[in-house]
């Protein structure tokens, strides 16, 4: 059985690790520090933690001010508010100024579950990736979360790191995170599955299912959505017959869009998008929601088969 971790637990612990490493690390939150786990940092470094209350716009712009004075600022809240509520502050103040603010947004996607659509960000990758200077990362599990947070710390400039709410299995034999690089999880010659976040696990399951029907599946974990690893896609376009791109996000503007943009411009190939199709989420448990929104292993299997048919 794979190890199960909350990405946000790993995030909180990594913040503590960074906090011990340098006094330049400052953490901001907007009244969700218990949920985002920035509270772990706050407990140990109270003076370097700022809780701005339910005021995401202020948090983002104040983070910019702190960063302009040399701080490495981690700013956290739910993905819905980090991306939606404060987009102008993120665009005009953080990104236009190219400041060292790392937005680590938790509770992304429909697996937020019972809270329902108002709290289920499914457009955040799209609107964050559209901003110049912004780097966008969607780690697939706990360990990759730590690696991504460390990479963001070490790399100057604004980042958006998207984490989930629920516990996720750690991916077996996952190559270490490298910023801007996709990771080949499995070789294959018929079809390529590209996935990020919780959908990486589903893609691996789908690959195993498809193998039973003698379909050779390549699986790519694509944690960095921007800048996108064009080389790994080019190679897959040459060596397989098409792509199924899987994400817990709207099919508009996310990973699938990014992959489609790159492929259609430089390496045209058939592509099927697994994602939320122009709908809002709703309340429910994770399993029911993933099934309703067609984000399961079975949906990926079906899409791969139809692509090859």
């Amino acid at each position: 059985m794979a190890e199960m971790l909350y990405q946000r637990d790993v995030y909180g612990k990594t913040l503590v690790e960074l906090g011990r490493r340098t006094a330049d690390v400052v953490v901001c939150d907007a009244d969700l520090s218990g949920s985002t786990r920035t509270a772990l940092f706050a407990r140990e470094f109270a003076s370097r933690f700022f809780n701005f209350g339910v005021a995401e716009q202020n948090m983002m712009a104040a983070s910019a001010g702190l960063a302009s004075c040399g701080k490495v600022v981690f700013a956290s809240t739910f993905a819905m508010f980090a991306s939606g509520r404060a987009w102008d502050q993120v665009r005009n103040t953080i990104c236009y100024s190219g400041l060292n603010v790392k937005i680590v947004a938790t509770h992304a996607g429909i697996t937020v579950g019972p809270d329902g659509a108002s709290h289920q960000a499914i457009e955040d990758i799209a609107i964050m990736r559209a901003i110049p200077n912004m780097t966008v990362i969607v780690p697939c599990d706990g360990p990759e979360t730590r690696e991504a947070v460390l990479a963001a710390f070490e790399t100057p400039g604004p980042f958006y790191i998207r984490l989930g709410r629920a516990k996720v299995p750690s991916i077996d034999k996952r190559p270490e995170f490298r910023l801007g690089k996709g990771a080949l999880l499995q070789e294959g010659s018929d079809v390529t599955l590209v996935a990020c976040g919780i959908m990486v696990q589903e893609a691996l399951k789908a690959a195993a299912e498809l193998a039973k029907n003698k379909i050779s599946v390549r699986v790519i974990n694509m944690p960095t959505i921007k800048p996108l690893d064009e080389n790994i896609l080019a190679e897959a376009a040459r060596q397989t017959k098409g792509f199924v791109v899987c994400e817990e996000h709207s099919v508009t503007g996310g990973l699938a869009s990014a992959v489609a943009e790159t492929l259609s411009e430089k390496h045209p190939a058939p592509i099927v998008r697994i994602g939320v199709k122009n709908r809002f989420g709703q309340s429910g448990d994770e399993t029911a929601l993933l099934a309703e929104y067609q984000l399961t292993c079975a949906d990926i299997v079906r899409s791969a088969q139809s692509l090859l048919a």
Partner: protein, 275 residues
């Protein structure tokens, strides 16, 4: 320390020169915001010539006082002051808003003397708050100044920042509100009333001062008072005249965001004592 009358005269003369440059650069640019630039000229002149600790030769000096122009559209006034101080060559002023220029239509961080981009209203007080919190963390005694517009305080983000700055007892933060009474669509009182302004800030936990924003001695005194206020941030509500110094621009809403024509430029030069 109070300024003597000679120093006050010097600042007033400097402000007149800054106004001349504002009109000249906007006339050449063919677009931009003269009204608010002229209303905030005396405040900016006082800050950069008599209040702030800064070094134009070393814009990233860690101990410098910070200034953030939240009402970014009034950057012509700031650009003129920064050029006069030597942050960049004065020639740059004449390329304002042109393709490939250093001086963008709204402040951009690559311009020496600009700390953080601005232009989208309502965000600057938060930025300044962040700077003041950084000073506390670094145990530095620099102060952070932030210029706000009156229409700008209609933005909700301003009040989020106001609440937070009081919460954090940021006495190293000083906001100045350029209260000229006009915004793009007309009189502030008619578009969206903001009064009672001083009471609002006081109720948010700020120390609020109300002054004549064109009286150099009063401006300077207000900054000196702000420095002495402990445990709370200060806002200087500076009553100003939009378009101050050019008679046909004064209190004329059209000049919020319209550059002077050639004739208007010439007339303004005459009024400002520039032949």
């Amino acid at each position: 320390m109070l300024l003597d009358s000679r120093k006050i005269k010097e600042l007033e003369d400097k402000a007149r020169e800054i106004r001349v440059m504002i009109v000249q650069m906007l006339a050449r640019a063919g677009s931009g915001h003269p009204g608010g630039s002229l209303s905030s000229t005396d405040i900016l002149t006082c800050l950069y010539y008599a209040v702030m600790r800064h070094n134009p030769k070393d814009p990233s000096w860690p101990d410098r006082d910070r200034f953030h122009l939240s009402k970014g559209h009034c950057c012509p006034a700031l650009y003129a002051v920064l050029a006069e101080q030597g942050y960049f060559a004065k020639d740059e002023l004449w390329k304002l808003r042109k393709f490939g220029c250093l001086l963008q239509g709204h402040p951009e961080r690559h311009t020496p003397g600009i700390e953080v981009c601005s232009g989208s209203l309502g965000q600057g007080l938060s930025v300044a708050l962040g700077m003041s919190l950084a000073a506390r963390l670094d145990r530095k005694d620099y102060r952070t100044y932030c210029l706000l517009g009156d229409g700008e305080v209609q933005e909700g983000n301003i009040w989020e920042a106001a609440m937070a700055a009081a919460h954090y007892k940021s006495d190293n933060l000083c906001a100045i509100l350029d209260y000229n009474g006009f915004q793009i669509d007309g009189r502030v009182t008619e578009v969206m009333a903001i009064e009672p302004l001083a009471e609002k800030w006081r109720s948010f936990g700020w120390y609020a001062l109300e002054i004549d924003g064109h009286n150099m001695a009063a401006i300077h005194k207000a900054f000196a008072t702000a420095k002495k206020i402990k445990e709370k941030p200060t806002i200087i509500i500076a009553k100003t005249i939009k378009g101050k110094g050019v008679s046909f621009m004064e209190n004329v809403v059209d000049f919020h965001g319209r550059a002077p024509s050639r004739d208007e430029h010439d007339l303004a030069m005459k009024e400002l004592g520039e032949s």
